[in-house]
Symmetry: D2
Subunit: 355 residues, 4 copies
């Protein structure tokens, strides 16, 4: 039942397989009267949609959601909000051998262990990155509401393979085709992706996300701390293998006198901190500073090179060559997914105390 | 309600404040008939208990749990298991000024925002690292059961400040007073802690945890994936700011052809992987390889140096000097806490499908 | 978020409004490999579907679900199972005045209080009895599985208005157009409904449900007891106002020596009870005897007679005459809904301890 | 894990066995700053405490809770609130034969099925009615808060055995030793209990609970409707076998034109209903009228008469004679338990939308 998320005020169910009739999501618990601008939502979804550039899979899907219920005159009506996307550009023949010859780095083998052969292996089935589209519908709706409250959720790429962008995150990058702050780094990253693709290989990367305007005093200690709630959601994004908040792993090398964020009176006369190594969270609760986290996306496991696998029927080691259409680097398309995931959790925590 | 954890088969409630009458925990949902060896549990708790060496706080607490219910003749009886530890060595006078002058890096300020002055600020209240003792009771009980099933949960320190231990984790370190694999690195780490303490400062570090013997096919996609469930729990440990699985952040720099774990036939004739960059988890589900994760612990925020804070009543910046007894480095005592936290989640996932 | 049900192994989300594009459900957590016979399911759904006889609304809907995902070759694949039913026979013009002039006995007024005018009032919106169709899809799928395990869930009408059927429930009634054991009582009940309809009025009734073949030892004390879990679900069925187990309210008039079910050795050599006043449940846990409950369905609030209401805009008392197509008695169509609701809960409890 | 209740804002864990070292409860999620008057709480608990009159068990327990944490200067501090009651007046020798010879009407047999012989059978173990004391601590704390908000939760006995009280509930009865409105009926009820006791038998009854001052617009459709949430909690009270809201089972005999509550303008100029057959709830949501429910309590299963049981070891039918101290009628002591149970649920729903 891992596809149903239980928040404090909202519950999110995502459903579908890569090659099922449709994929979709239900968002339950939204207050009535929340505006959903479908145009804005579509533009957000387009940032994730496949088939639009060199570093994305050649599978093209319009990813235009149909809202089945929960909306009335462009506003939520208190009933669950359900939207679906029909799968169209499906080529299941590309995946016929995956069930007996699992792809390294994919969930083919663990799905076999878990579902005993009954899983829908085609295109990765329910484990497909395609399921991040429903997550983006949910997050896209909530980003609109957060935005109306002055809260900005903005992610960017800070690393692709070995190319880093060390520049400050001082301007939005969501309008860029390749969401990186520094254009020189961006060019190098794209070149690295192009080269990996040429070699039938793939690259991973690191995404940073910054949330501004989020009020202090939200969250709870321990199991419902913001880091706990956010990380649960972020690790639900396929290919994410690491999450850190504020100084993160870097904090381990700092001394307390360096890592502690001294309190000060900010420009607005309110309490702030001089630095933000805490990433805006202390004791699981927001302190009013920007919430900052980074996560690692592993390189796309589907590559064009020969790989060693084991045939599940013969139990013999075999060489696997993957067919199908795949992203040489999933990181750019993961950027809006990270924003969506963060929006779902933060909206939920924020509204815990609202009528 | 962040102090109640909702697993699939068990629910864990931890309670208490640093200076309340008692701290404790209730573990609900355990099957009847599980053996609880109190001696083994006490030895496990002693690894976390304060006041035993140079790098720990001078506050001494026996940390001997009293089981109030749930046990009969040394076995669980199906009813909730509740244990408490009375707080004894309490010096609340050390904390009188914390409520108006919040300590940088602590939850004093966010507690004020969240609880509007009604929080128990003494000793950090409910946010105190002392609350990891109840977590260790729960985890200690479950580690015994995992062990009976051939599952080992073993953590060690791999970094303190800038001192790293790059050696393999090929032997248990739980019997060592300072749980590091390489003794040379261990000596350097202890020296670094001693030096930081002398300077009134503190150090953080990185802990690695490896779980062996855990069967494949456990877990779920998305929100209930093992990484999601584990990270939620790990970030609940105070001072943890980063969590990574397998190759973690390092995966971002690898190519797909490097990061993918090729399948092979293992020594036992079963399917295994040649490498384990996935840390034993694919698509949220275990693949039978060791589950491996690392986490960063920030340096103890309580330091002896002067720090800048803001008086919440006068709204003026003030210099704070922290009294009280504190660990110059919490990392060694956090090692069993990490094992306990992992045990709670892994036991819960493992038994999802058991009568 | 009341439309998402959180079981122990499964989570059920129902969505849709009476006049939205579609209604539907997602069932998450089903094991892979469970057979779903769509023909059997459709026959089950037909028992609830409207427009088929004198005592049902004239609104005709085929109620043929489309499975969007979660199925592969007629079996569950481990991914969430989602099915939708398009709404077709919609006449929203019948409901234009409901938002300002709430119908007595309906949720129009409470929806207004809860959703502040943003609710979809048309046809009762999300509160419509039409939402029991998705519940029947979920329950219909699970009834098939329970049946394969030798567990029968059978409901019948035991009262319509003042007409009772006091006969034993010794033969299934699911094939009868009017699901009553005693045919004489059935005829009287139908006559009572016909007469109420003629007078522009409506009738309620009592449904009894008996589950046989359910093993003992399932359930938990207190909040997860079978009675607690079942009643939560049963009261979610619109119009249900009372639920009792075994002797129920009648137990209040018995002495302990009468109400206690003496233990005996049953025909099969196993432990049984001589009577079954407990309705198969003691301490929240099944004892192996049939699980028996009854529930009261209030008379359909939509009647043809003039009723007094208050105009929410003018705050003046007004006379309301309801248009639209309505059941003079919802009880017959509620019978399969009760079976479906019970199946969802009992399947979930039964499989708590299964891989 | 049925002893942990998951509300929307609060989570309640109750723990202990009839003869364990202690029983208790943890209430997590309370806002900081809520006043807890321990004197008022003790008076409330005394209404449930045993050993105080003829119709109660002879086991005397002071039932004075010790608060371990969560309170500071008489107010909640945001941390979990834990209280325990030490068990003192314990006579386990009375229960030695219960494990092999289960008592009819008790959970002895189902506990055996569920816990395979590891259960603590002494005094009913975790299934004991004694566990309603922790529930009363939780409810007693929340009743104080509801009272401060002008919400009254008042229960009374309306039936003992065959003696009914048909009078109106127009004055509180909580100060009466025997909580019945009509004193003549009360005397008859007590006489009936005395007589049953004399004959070594027991009686059940019906309790009615009325909540006034609860605002409209609280609750959710379907699974989180007020009836669903309340009934889940009420059936968690040992011995409760039936729950009805408003007209309840009686609604089944009414016509729609009789059962519908016409809307009107109330004395205060606000919308009200002329009657209250709905018991204050429509579509799962409160309508501002009093919330009214009744529940049936079965006769105490522990009686002095010989009963037939089956020896679980020899699998032979045997005659059982119960030793121990038992209530001939649990109904009077259940009255505050019902109020407590209702308070927990209603407080939780009420504060869903509060900071």
């Amino acid at each position: 039942m891992g596809s149903t998320w239980i928040g404090k005020r909202i519950r999110l169910s995502i459903f579908g397989q890569s090659h099922s009739a449709a994929i979709g999501m239900t968002l339950d618990g939204l207050p009535a009267g929340m505006t959903v601008d479908e145009g804005t939502l579509q533009r957000f979804l387009n940032r994730r949609a496949p088939g639009r550039n060199d570093w994305s899979t050649a599978r093209r899907e319009a990813d235009a959601p149909e809202f089945l219920c929960g909306l009335k005159d462009g506003r939520t009506c208190g009933a669950p909000l359900t939207a679906i996307i029909r799968n169209k550009n499906v080529r299941p023949q590309d995946y016929v051998n995956l069930k007996t010859l699992p792809r390294p780095g994919h969930a083919d083998y663990t799905a076999e262990l878990r579902y005993h052969g009954f899983q829908d292996a085609s295109g990765g089935g329910h484990f497909s990155g395609r399921l991040t589209a429903p997550l983006c519908i949910a997050g896209g709706v909530l980003l609109q509401e957060l935005s109306r409250r002055g809260i900005t959720v903005a992610a960017r790429i800070v690393r692709i393979g070995t190319v880093c962008d060390g520049s400050a995150f001082d301007a939005p990058v969501s309008d860029k085709a390749f969401p990186v702050s520094d254009d020189t780094a961006a060019a190098q990253m794209q070149e690295a992706i192009r080269q990996a693709k040429e070699e039938g290989d793939s690259l991973g990367g690191v995404i940073e996300c910054v949330i501004t305007g989020f009020p202090g005093g939200v969250g709870d200690p321990f199991f419902d701390g913001i880091e706990s709630r956010l990380s649960q959601m972020l690790f639900a994004i396929p290919a994410v293998k690491a999450v850190e908040f504020g100084a993160g792993f870097g904090a381990a090398s700092l001394r307390g006198s360096e890592n502690n964020d001294a309190f000060c009176i900010g420009a607005d006369g309110q309490i702030a901190t001089v630095t933000n190594h805490a990433g805006g969270i202390l004791g699981g609760i927001s302190n009013g500073m920007p919430i900052v986290f980074r996560l690692a996306v592993k390189p796309t496991p589907s590559i064009g090179k020969d790989q060693q696998s084991v045939d599940l029927e013969t139990m013999k080691e075999e060489t696997l060559r993957i067919q199908g259409r795949h992203d040489p680097c999933i990181v750019p398309r993961a950027v809006p997914v990270v924003e969506a995931a963060a929006a779902v959790v933060l909206y939920d925590l924020l509204t815990e105390g609202e009528a």
